[in-house]
Amino acid sequence: MNEKAMRSQRKWQTIIWVAIIIVFTYLASDITNFNIIHGIATLPNAITWIFSNLYITPETLERLPKILEKLAETILMSIAATTTATVFSLFLGLMGSKTTGTSSVLGVFARLVASVARNIPVVAWALILLLSFGQNSMTGYLALFVGSLGFLTRAFIETIDEASHSAVEALRATGSTYFQIVFKAVIPQCLPQMISWILFMIETNIRSATLVGILTGTGIGYSFDLYYKTLNYNAVALVTFAIVISVIIIELMSNRIRKVIL
């Protein structure tokens, strides 16, 4: 193909892509009643509203201890959900990976569990569990647990597949047992990457914990919802800032850890 033909093919490809995107955008705004001009027009008002209402006053600071307590509950919930899910996903990951899997039936089982747990949104799990577990930390914890289980299993399968093939082969050649291979080759090799995934999951879970909290009435999400519905916008601002600061601190900490171990 000469250069001219290639160029014109490229041009046509671009034009077709842009056309498809425009058609889809039109359809999407039609079905959702989204008016982009209205959207842009409300933006200045929205920002003015945010700056004139969402500020922290001295009176709201009195609520800080209570908010911090709820925040601690949420953070602990996210960490607990992640670490307990890690234990289970480690086994599922070992089962699902091609290098360490023992039977194809177990492998398919692990991948299926991971796929179902991951692709049903955390919100759906929260709503389902709320019906029988009621309004307490356990509901949020379990919803986050299922979501983390799905995500971490997939991440671990990928990590194990990528990292440890030659070491596993070498150990197998020396006649090591299955558990020796897993504990002396697979886990030490994959551990840094796995810890990185765990930290990533904790960051994600703290954000989703807010959402789950709004639905299940626990933790910082509940505080937000409460102040939001009673129109106490100064407290809403305080809660938001508390979340932002804790998320940023946790992100900085895990970036630090990642820099050392990876």
């Binding site: 892509w17 889809f24 955008t25 999407a28 705004s29 039609d30 079905i31 959702t32 009643n33 989204f34 008016n35 959207g39 409300t42 933006l43 509203w49 945010i50 601690a72 509950e73 602990l76 919930m77 960490i79 992640t82 670490t83 796929s115 692709n119 049903i120 949104p121 919100v123 759906a124 709503l127 389902i128 709320l130 019906l131 029988s132 577990f133 009621g134 307490n136 930390s137 356990m138 914890y141 990928e158 551990l191 840094p192 810890i195 930290l199 954000r207 807010t210 959402l211 639905l215 916008y233 809403v236 938001t240 979340i243 932002v244 600061i245 998320v247 940023i248 992100e251 050392v260 171990i261």
Partner: protein
């Protein structure tokens, strides 16, 4: 012989100690130990009010059985259900595409090889702040600030999409070959020429794939916003079916619909990843 190996630390019995002073190992152990301790602490701090495990577990098992084995629609029709899924997809699509367009320009400002260090740093700090606020809070805040409706949902989701895509796009821009930029600058091309003739052609497929990956995320975010922030769509129906009608059959069917779409989107994005990002891990 002794002098040359003096930097190798040995134990009392002469074995080479391979663990001493290994910072990586220390940090990993420290992380694992502190996370385990925090987990144990968490179970003591939990609020167990109104929890009866002996009743809750069989009930949930029964609910799950009804959901997954006897799904049915009762409060709305199939065409309505598909229409609601369409709304959710529409919200996700709008947030993604508008986010991609805005993120493209912000990423040009954030990429260090195309912008000056101060602008780049400022954009990065703003993006980090936006990312730290959970999407649901943005949607709820915009719901009062901009009035209820799809505008609030799209605007709220847009914020996070922009933050995510700016990070991804600017990293793609920074990987553009330095030589190309230099060659264009030498011919006297201005900044905009460089962007349209060097940066955009060489990163276009990356940008499209990242945008699609974000669409996959935005779909589940849109479901969540429907349930938690009243943004409409299938998420809202899910919330109504479980929270108001207690209709587990309907919950089951809605869950299946979401699951099916999510799996399709995931397979598509895995194919994209395999094609365009062979070696890199995607977060």
């Amino acid at each position: 012989m002794e002098a040359t190996t003096s930097f190798v630390k040995r134990r009392a019995n002469g074995q080479i100690s391979i663990k001493s002073g290994n910072k990586v190992e220390q940090v990993m152990t420290g992380t694992i130990v502190s996370l385990s301790l925090l987990t144990i602490l968490a179970f003591f701090f939990f609020n167990y009010a109104g929890l009866e495990l002996s009743k809750a577990i069989p009930e949930t098992a029964y609910n799950l059985k009804v959901m997954f084995l006897e799904p049915a629609l009762s409060h709305f029709t199939w065409s309505e259900a598909i229409y609601q899924v369409g709304i959710t997809l529409g919200l996700a699509f709008l947030a993604t595409i508008l986010g991609a367009v805005i993120a493209f320009f912000l990423a040009l400002m954030a990429a260090i090889n195309l912008s000056n260090p101060w602008v780049s740093k400022a954009v990065r700090i703003i993006v980090a702040f936006i990312r730290a606020v959970p999407t649901v809070l943005w949607v709820l805040i915009f719901a009062i600030a901009a009035g209820l409706g799809s505008e609030a949902a799209v605007l709220g989701m847009l914020f996070h999409s922009i933050a995510y895509l700016v990070k991804a796009f600017s990293e793609a821009f920074e990987e553009v070959d330095k030589g190309i930029l230099e060659a264009l600058t030498a011919t006297g091309a201005n900044w905009w020429h460089i962007v349209t003739h060097a940066v955009l052609p060489s990163t276009f497929t990356y940008l499209l794939s990242w945008t699609f990956l974000r669409f996959e995320i935005n779909f589940s975010v849109a479901v969540a916003m429907g349930a938690a922030a009243g943004a409409g769509g299938i998420g809202f129906e899910l919330f109504m079916a479980s929270g108001f009608y207690f209709d587990m059959r309907e919950v089951g069917l809605i869950t299946y619909m979401i699951l099916l779409l999510a799996v399709v989107l995931e397979i598509m994005s895995t194919q994209l990843k395999k094609r365009y990002f062979p070696a890199k891990a995607i977060r």
